[in-house]
Symmetry: C2
Subunit: 649 residues, 2 copies
């Protein structure tokens, strides 16, 4: 039996810390309204979206042509999902009214048989389910389902669940192994995890079975996408290899993460869900093997994944170039989705460490501090002048953009931040263990032995590692509080009601488990000293040999030209270089900066009239200043660098 924890849901959680609360407010007050405007094409300089318009056309309320990507519907879905989470955080009548209006529009755009996709309804009415490989129908359906679940959980309003259940019922009819059914699967996974979510809300086993069907069919021979293509006259996109779609092998035979990284990680998230629901230890082993491949061979230090711009894909083990890192924001987000699912199966800090790494670095870099612009691509090194001329850097942008023609990342980051609460805690009912995965201040409550127990978390995380917990409960309650001791911290300390506790005996898979009868007012103090760490890559990562990255707590740092001048690659630090961390309230809306000694080549030891010389260079000591990676590109455009040369002095 695969045991698993339950994430404590958003509605039981309040975030009130100094780091995330303002970001959630930004999402609620700025990003969600902005994205609503963007989808309604009312923002002057943004790329056209047409998303809402497409639904109006599909509903027969407007005569116009479909416009946008084939998966444009998913923008509205992700927005609605984010709105649902936002409403879980705080009621907002205006937003709820807009969202209800959107749901009504979904209902009107839905066809009699339950089908709901504006691209096919408007632009290709006779072609639905004819190109699962390229057309993202089930992908869009999956996002609409996720939105429905989020909105229902936030508001208790079933209408959107009913709409999406009708759609899912239609899918249950259309797909399967019976005669007349389509024995296929979508080119872009997403429906798999969405159907599990819908099953968990509705209890309808058919949805779970359909999800498993999609996973089990994927990659089987004969190859569905070939069969499908043979029956079709229209082939809109260039043929891609099966691994682009994770269909190169049956899912259960896959051992490495291949192809388009967002596709892969959405699929793996669904696979992990199914492993739990079906108690399928084979699928769990597949998940673990793929997890090891992604996180131990194919993940940047920022948690970014997908190192190849072409096909936005995984490549091969240890191929992690920094300037050409693709590391799409959506891929980082999907790694977090997957990590949290793995974590619910096994409370091992390995999963939470990855979740935290990608959250504070590879995800957060995707959005500007003001919430108004976004990176699709998150490289670890940028030389703007080269980006202007080199085709191999064509996808690297030196500034965040307002909105994208393919606007997957902005709404994805909005839904992630709005739903952040659900990643903080889990509860293990059978063992009565309350796990704390992330150190994000606020309140959470959980029913334990029929009693509502509240845990208050306070800290200045991620800038300081002192975290305080206070228990509140009317009656004494016996349960375990399990605190993650992050992998980045080498000398964590713990006090319960002021008394130091020896961690070694009580730590299991990176979680310190404090089992006792908790009384209201009991206080835990977790001290996670945040040394400035010098991180090295496995030397098989060619790009990073002889280099180190600076990390403090969960935050990976970078150098920017604004602080350090140009030619950042010519900065060298050493193992002995000391860095001091200081919180700078006035910089980048308040960040910790690192200052330390480094070397640059002494200008007197070379001559720009010589490109090559045999004389060794001399170095000049310099002071450098590093800022959190996520906060880069919030000032004027310039160079940025994460991995610094290590001087072996």
């Amino acid at each position: 039996m695969i045991k698993h924890l339950q994430a404590i849901p958003i509605k039981n959680i309040t975030i009130d810390d100094s780091f995330w609360a303002k970001r959630q407010t930004l999402i609620r007050e700025t990003v969600i309204p902005y994205q609503w405007e963007a989808m309604n094409d009312t923002i002057p300089d943004a790329e056209p979206s047409h998303t809402v318009e497409n639904f109006r056309i599909a509903a027969g309320e407007l005569k116009a042509d479909y416009y946008g990507q084939v998966f444009q519907d998913s923008d509205l879905a992700k927005w609605l999902e984010a709105a649902g989470y936002a409403l879980s955080i705080k009621r907002d009548e205006k937003l709820e009214a807009i969202a209800d209006g959107v749901i009504d529009l979904l209902g009107r755009a839905q066809q009699a048989d339950g089908y709901l996709n504006t691209y096919f309804t408007v632009a290709k009415p006779g072609k639905k389910w004819t190109n699962l490989r390229d057309d993202h129908e089930l992908y869009c359906a999956g996002h609409l389902i996720e939105a429905a679940v989020a909105y229902y959980e936030a508001t208790g309003k079933r209408k959107v669940i009913d709409i999406m259940s009708r759609y899912a019922d239609h899918m249950v009819d259309v797909f399967g192994r019976k005669p007349g059914q389509i024995r296929g699967y979508d080119g872009h996974p997403e429906i798999e995890l969405a159907l599990v979510r819908l099953y968990r809300v509705t209890g309808k086993i058919g949805y779970l079975e359909l999800s498993r069907f999609f996973v089990d069919e994927r990659g089987q021979v004969p190859y569905f996408f070939d069969i499908e293509e043979a029956g079709r006259t229209e082939h809109r996109v260039a043929r891609r290899n099966a691994d682009y779609f994770q269909a190169h092998l049956p899912v259960r035979a896959q051992k490495t993460a291949e192809g388009h990284s967002v596709r892969a990680l959405y699929l793996f998230s669904g696979v992990t869900d199914l492993a739990v629901e079906y108690n399928d230890s084979e699928l769990l082993e597949v998940s673990k093997e793929l997890w090891r491949n992604v996180t131990r061979k194919r993940m940047y230090v920022t948690g970014g994944v997908g190192s190849n711009e072409y096909w936005e894909s995984f490549t091969i083990d240890y191929d992690l170039p920094n300037d050409r890192a693709y590391t799409e924001t959506c891929a980082a987000i999907s790694l977090m989705f997957w990590a949290s699912r793995m974590l619910q199966i096994e409370a091992d800090r390995e999963y939470a460490d990855v979740m935290e790494r990608v959250l504070y670095n590879g995800i957060l870099s995707g959005i500007s501090l003001d919430g108004k612009s976004y990176f699709y691509v998150n490289p670890l090194e940028v030389w703007p002048s080269a980006c202007d001329v080199r085709e191999d850097l064509r996808s690297v942008s030196k500034t965040r953009q307002a909105w994208f023609g393919c606007a997957c990342c902005p709404p994805n980051i909005a839904r992630l931040i709005a739903s952040l609460g659900q990643y903080i805690y889990s509860y293990n009912e059978s063992e009565q263990e309350w796990f704390v995965h992330l150190y994000i201040g606020g309140q959470a409550h959980q029913s334990i032995d029929g009693q509502r127990v509240q845990l208050t978390q306070q800290s200045n995380y991620p800038w300081e590692g002192h975290i305080y917990f206070t228990v509140a409960a009317e009656q004494p309650a016996e349960f375990t509080i399990a605190l993650r001791l992050p992998g980045w911290c080498k000398d964590a300390m713990l006090k319960v009601n002021g008394e130091s506790v020896a961690l070694s005996s009580m730590t299991h898979k990176g979680y310190a488990k404090i089992k006792r009868v908790w009384l209201s007012g009991d206080r835990i103090e977790l001290i996670l000293p945040m040394a400035v760490e010098k991180v090295r890559s496995n030397p098989k990562v060619r790009e990073n040999v002889g280099k180190l990255a600076l990390q403090r707590g969960p935050i990976v740092f970078c150098l920017e030209e604004a602080d350090n001048g140009e030619h950042l690659r010519d900065i060298r630090v050493s193992a002995a270089s000391e860095f001091t961390a200081r919180y700078d309230d006035g910089l980048l809306e308040g960040v910790v900066v690192l200052n330390g000694g480094a070397w640059r080549t002494d200008e007197a030891s070379y001559d720009d009239d010589r490109l090559y010389q045999t004389d060794p260079f001399k170095s000049t000591p310099v002071q450098i200043k590093a800022i959190p990676y996520f906060a880069w590109a919030n000032r004027k455009p310039g160079e940025m660098l994460v991995w610094l040369h290590e001087n072996y002095l």
Copy 2:
């Protein structure tokens, strides 16, 4: 007055050393016959060429469609040019008969007005001179002219000169500033330098004037390519920026090398020729400024140029990535063309050093040891597994190919090696100075004061730096022998007839000038100790910060997986590492190999279950073995690396 030297022509030179003589033999006996077969499509596995067939069709002797690149004619031209040089080296009746047949075919394919281009004659009869930007008509003409000059100089047969003069006369009619003439220039420079060559053979000033016209028109406003395009209904290629064609500015205003690198360097070669012929100091200054830009900011240590696969182009200063180096073989060859022209104007070793650097490294890497396969792209680092999956490495080949659809490089390298003799010596008539630029063993003769004087050069270059010269002349002859002291050599020594000579007083711009009355049997011994040098890049070359390259004499070395295992990037050397050079007769047809101590990461200090760690690595001393860069990829495919991490221990 721009003084200049005269290269001592091939026909006065015999090469009989152990390095180049066998390569010239390979070109004569294997490559030229092979390429003839290739152009006649009689090689089973090679890509189709159709080159000769196109001429037969144009001559009306065959009914078939044109096939091949728009510039396919240039393959035959470069082949004929190479055949000319080969016949200068050694008479070969069979080859001469084939070449005469080719010339007859050229004559039959030529139109009544002198026009000669099979693509237009066969495929676009009404469209000649309508798309100078893209269609390479003048480019092909230029190569045919170069071939004519080479063949005429080898054999004394004027027929081909007459054919090409008729063509050039036609161009003189067609192009110019008079009404009815086309006031334009070719998208691919080449005609400029070719017309100067034709002028030098025929004395017809019109050819020189046409060359200057092309150079002076280039980049003027209004922009010719726009005018031309406006008058045309057909636009076959995507619009490129004017800098691709070096037409972004008037040539005299250009200060940096932009766009397609072969185009740029052919143009600059022509510009340098015109500076001499017209005594045009402005053009000379343009050449020098561009030279400084290319060789001090945009040239790899191998002499390769053009760091961008896209558009095969120059990018920006110091942008020299090693794995994505494009460094087309033809670009390296054209750098040598230009360097030799600069050198004739000013006997400064700077030019000869570049010529030697590119010859022994970036050019020679383009051809396999057996002469049967070729690199178009010459990167300085190759990780074959990444080349298989990364789109940004799509042009990087881990093995040389037999022939290319765009077969510019193989015949270009053939003509370069066949004509190598002309790069070795120059003679300055007015000062009676005999310059030795390259140390390539053999005999050369020159008329001095009406007497034939012979210089015999002997050495084991490039493997050993002892070079012996012997003078032979019936009468004592007073003149200067000026020997290049290569920039790579820090402690050259010179003996004349066994007596040491102090170099400092006699060295001018890197040439040791020995002026005396030479008697037959006089002997010079030049000793150029070949230390293993550790070369560093200007630290503005981001890719090479903290790295060094190994060089000995003119040869740049590299590591190959065959000798050092995989993960070459994890090899570190230090300033103190000692390398020994040893000639290995059995390896790669005989090369010097370098052996020395280096470090690799101790496998015990990391764990493949961790991608990132904070513990510094420990290093293990290892022995590494480096081979000449030019000889890489002659064994089984594997990694290759030029720039090694420098351990600052």
